[in-house]
């Protein structure tokens, strides 16, 4: 009897204000409403696999269960591709966003019919919804467990213009630029490589990133920093990429002299801009002599390159003279740099092509000898992270100046 009474009088205090099923139903409704409320869509910062480069995708969620997805990336041939497929928000180990009929833009990163066969990129197309606000949604890939963020795209911004801005920032900042960046966290300085491939290597760890119109979004926060920083934006003076959570954490470019020299060691080549308006009178005159000599035999001066003579077993620094047909003569130098200068001292040697060119075309050796100097470098690039174009000025002859830019 006593048991009978107790069983009915005991009442557990409610922790939640509604049963689990009701809360799940409400979660679906809330998330659907939030997705669909972005009339210009969301930018998804998509990563297929840990420690790989990410891609932006723009997604608009319709009220008819169809999502329109646009991408411009290597899988779309780097042109805009917009496709529609179905999506759903459902409960399955939490509230899940699923792109549940084929959409080639997003499923390109999950398709096992792509290389390597049976795997492809192995990316997710189903995501647990971890949290949301009106402007941001945090998702977690069901298979890979990668945090994937969606940010509301502002009204009025065309989708193509978003990708234009991403591609422009990538071109200005990462593509074809020296790989090395410096990560600053207060007094801590860390060398970072791999930026041009959109995978930063920091010590032993790798961090993929997605390029944004004015910054980057990392796949995961860099370990060991004073704050968990995922998003970085270009500073007003364009000198650094600053964390959105801490102004003390930022990426900046490598020292320009280090960048110029070490990039050559990594097989980068720098070409002088062969345009009279882009060089001083001393070099104009030297080049004119060589050009005239080449022209007498129907040849042209194609490039003057700062590079490594990779064929030589000692792999010395060289100035390369490329003439018609692509033949390059390599003239060897000892190159040293400080934080404020770089010095070229001729070794007096050259390869076979170098011998042929200097013996047959007047002015070649005057030109080569003129490069023996100490130089001041100044960035002529769009921002301070990238040294894609550099002004080079001889410290001993203010009329001996020229621009160089990355060559292939």
């Amino acid at each position: 009897m006593a048991t009978g009474f107790y069983s009915c009088s005991f009442q557990e205090k409610d922790i939640f204000d509604a049963p689990a099923a009701e809360r799940l139903e409400q979660s679906i409704k809330d998330n659907l409403a939030n997705f669909q409320s972005a009339s210009n869509g969301w930018v998804m910062q998509y990563f297929a696999y840990p420690e790989t480069a990410g891609f932006p995708l723009i997604i608009k969620f319709g009220t008819d269960n169809f999502a329109t997805v646009m991408g411009r990336n290597s899988e779309t041939g780097n042109v805009d591709l917009t496709k529609t497929g179905m999506y759903s928000v459902k409960t399955n180990e939490g509230t899940v966003l699923s792109f549940d009929t084929y959409n080639p833009v997003i499923h390109a990163f999950s398709d096992p019919d792509k290389n390597p066969l049976g795997y492809g990129y192995e990316g997710d197309f189903e995501f647990t919804i971890m949290s949301h606000t009106a402007d941001m949604v945090r998702l977690k890939g069901k298979k890979r467990g990668i945090n994937i963020y969606m940010n509301r795209l502002p009204e009025g911004q065309s989708w193509s213009s978003y990708f234009d801005a991403v591609y422009a920032f990538d071109a200005q900042t990462f593509k074809g630029a020296p790989n090395k960046l410096i990560l600053i966290d207060g007094s801590k300085q860390i060398q970072v490589s791999g930026a041009s491939g959109h995978i930063l290597t920091v010590g032993e760890d790798m961090y993929g990133f997605v390029v944004k119109p004015n910054g980057i979004h990392l796949e995961k926060p860099i370990a060991g920093l004073s704050a968990d920083a995922l998003d970085f934006e270009l500073s007003a003076d364009k000198s650094k990429l600053v964390s959105t959570v801490s102004p003390n954490i930022y990426f900046t470019g490598d020292n320009i002299y280090n960048a110029f020299v070490s990039s050559q060691v990594s097989n980068a080549q720098w070409a002088i801009v062969l345009d009279d308006s882009q060089m001083g009178s001393t070099l104009q005159s030297l080049i004119a002599t060589v050009r005239a000599s080449l022209a007498a035999t129907g040849r042209t001066l194609n490039q003057i390159l700062f590079k490594i003579d990779a064929v030589n077993s000692a792999k010395p620094f060289a100035v390369g003279i490329m003439i018609t047909g692509g033949a390059i003569g390599h003239y060897h130098y000892d190159v040293t740099n400080t934080a404020n200068s770089v010095t070229y001292v001729s070794k007096g040697t050259c390869d076979n092509n170098g011998t042929v060119i200097k013996n047959n075309f007047a002015g070649t050796m005057d030109l080569i000898n003129a490069f023996e100097a100490t130089y001041t470098l100044a960035s002529a690039s769009d921002n301070g992270l990238s040294y894609k174009k550099i002004k080079v000025t001889s410290n001993s002859d203010s009329n001996f100046w020229f621009y160089i830019q990355k060559y292939n």
Binding site: M1, A21, M86, S88, F99, D100, Y102, H107, S110, D113
Partner: protein, 305 residues
């Protein structure tokens, strides 16, 4: 009297216990009981597949239904719309035509699932185009590759569908044990992958996979026979009759008995389907081939909302 007091006492106890709990009226369900909103395609599936055949079609990717053994992607919606019309025409209605609608409603797997990609095997040299699980679910892969040619449909779907349906039927009614005796010594389990089509035919098996075990041999023979044209079958029998075909061991060779063994098995198969299921194999073959050819000129409903 003593008994009366005992009964009275129990009644009091019961009354107290029952009355102590206030009767609660059931409220509304905590679950969403709103009927699902169906688009045109969903409505057609409900009216044309679910109601008449008792089959649920998963054309949208359902993680809990899909195999976690493979990397997979969802099926293309347009191809799913086409494929279900093809399945209906070449599978469901083929059986309707020969044995009536009740037959399929009783035996067909209850779930049909579409997957966009192939289910690639680990060696990535081969893929699974279709599977059936315990007579309950058939999964068709490579939906995103869909073509309407008879060769594509037979290789990727029709052979699988009829193979798996054959299993369901002979799990309901067993076939004559004499079948397994014909090639009893030659079933080799998983080693069938080392045999090619010509070698297996010459050994007395209609496909290499038939060599796995007699149950697979039975349904492979069934599916191959009804999916072949008469000319294609005649060609297979010619190959099966060849002598001197070198086997995978690189030592032994065929003795010309392959065709005889296959035709012995076919006799048992033919008798089984005729007497147990009232299905005439040659009639079934004519129906299937006609319907498979129809697909090339079918006018597909796009179910545009």
């Amino acid at each position: 009297m003593k008994n009366f007091k005992l009964i009275l006492g129990l009644l009091v106890v019961c009354t107290v216990v029952f009355s102590s709990c206030k009767e609660e009226k059931l409220g509304d369900s905590i679950f969403d009981t709103t009927p699902p909103v169906r688009n045109k395609f969903d409505q057609w599936l409900y009216d044309s597949i679910t109601i008449p055949y008792n089959i649920q079609v998963f054309y949208k990717y359902e993680d809990i239904e899909a195999s976690n053994q493979y990397n997979l992607i969802p099926a293309d919606l347009g191809n799913s719309k086409k494929l279900i019309q093809i399945v209906k025409h070449t599978w469901y209605e083929a059986y309707d035509e020969i044995v009536g609608k009740d037959f399929l409603r009783a035996y067909v797997p209850r779930i049909l699932q579409f997957i966009g990609s192939a289910a690639w095997n680990d060696d990535t040299n081969s893929y699974v185009a279709g599977t059936a699980e315990g007579g309950m679910k058939v999964t068709l892969y490579v939906v995103n590759w869909l073509q309407t040619t008879p060769a594509f449909l037979k290789d990727n779907y029709l052979h699988t569908m009829h193979h798996e349906f054959g299993h369901i039927l002979n799990q309901k009614i067993a076939y004559d044990p004499a079948f397994k005796l014909i090639s009893k010594a030659d079933y080799i389990g998983g080693d069938w992958i080392y045999w090619n089509q010509q070698q297996s035919l010459a050994k007395g098996f209609i496909t290499p996979y038939s060599m796995d075990k007699d149950g697979e041999d039975f349904v492979e023979l069934y599916s191959t026979y009804i999916n072949c044209t008469a000319a294609e079958w005649a060609n297979l029998m010619q190959l099966a009759a060849r002598t001197n075909v070198l086997y995978p061991d690189q030592v032994t060779r065929s003795n010309g008995q392959g065709r005889i063994k296959i035709e012995q098995k076919l006799t048992i198969l033919r008798d089984y389907f005729q007497t147990r299921w009232n299905i005439n194999l040659d009639q079934m073959r004519e129906i299937l081939n006609r319907r498979t050819n129809d697909v090339q000129t079918m006018s597909f409903n796009e179910f545009l909302d």
